[in-house]
């Protein structure tokens, strides 16, 4: 019962956030909408017993990533409203048609038992730090180390992109 109420309320919030992200003229409003959606998703994580993940979502996604987005929006100075005219011919109709098809596809997929069937019998999982940690350092240790490497590469790349560009401009 409780879960149902939570689902409906935060489901609507999530959808509202998503739609406002797509529709808002002001990119800052879009960022706000997305943050709203992310919070709702964190709530869903909790109701699915993924507590650790929910915390990580709030801290990293809603906290770091979205903040970074806002940062760049402000830096670039596109916080003003943008032009609404569509340049590419047929883009809007095609996009809507395609999305409709995709939605239909999803609905059809929902008919399949493996997508929306009853819960598999077994020990209910618990998304605690211990559970995730045990699994992470047992079966998933390699991907874990590789993602560490990935982060280093990403950071290096970002520094390189930002740093050298500045040198070029000053030199030219």
């Amino acid at each position: 019962m409780v879960e149902l109420v939570v689902f409906i309320i935060f489901g609507l919030v999530a959808l509202f956030g998503a739609l406002s992200m797509v529709w808002a003229r002001n990119p800052v409003y879009s960022a706000m909408g997305l943050m709203l959606t992310m919070f709702s998703v964190a709530v869903f994580y909790v109701s699915n017993s993924a507590h650790f993940i929910a915390v990580v979502q709030v801290i990293i996604y809603a906290g770091a990533v979205m903040t970074l987005f806002l940062f760049v929006i402000m830096l670039i100075g596109v916080d003003r409203d943008e032009d609404r005219r569509e340049v590419i011919p047929l883009q809007r109709p095609v996009a809507l048609a395609v999305l409709a098809l995709f939605g239909a596809g999803v609905v059809v997929a929902g008919r399949f038992a493996w997508v929306t069937g009853p819960t598999v019998a077994g020990e209910p999982i618990d998304g605690t730090v211990e559970a995730i940690g045990t699994e992470l350092f047992r079966d998933w240790v390699l991907p874990f180390e590789v993602t560490a490497l990935l982060l280093i590469i990403a950071a290096t790349g970002a520094i390189g992109l930002a740093l050298f560009r500045r040198d070029e401009e000053e030199g030219a």
């Binding site: 997305l34 998703v41 819960t119």
Partner: protein, 101 residues
Amino acid sequence: MTVTPGWYMALAAALFVIGAGGILLRRNALVMFMSVELMLNAVNLTFVAAGRELNVIDGQISVLFVMVVAAAEVVVGLAIIVAVFRRRHTASVDELSELKG
């Protein structure tokens, strides 16, 4: 009426479609990027729901990795957008259309 994992998956699908719409319909590079993040979130939600359905912890582990990669991607993507903006003084992706046939 209990809330089965299927419901969450349906909601995630809806978020995913909205995110795809954002990419196709918005011109601002940052908004497009945010739509990508939305899609990633939808996928994460699907993973968690599926993990709950199958009673394995692997769903959540996958989410962890997706988040890590998404974070790395955001770093690099934003750096690119900033660099492009410095050259062209526009954040509209439609301006960047030289590679046409």
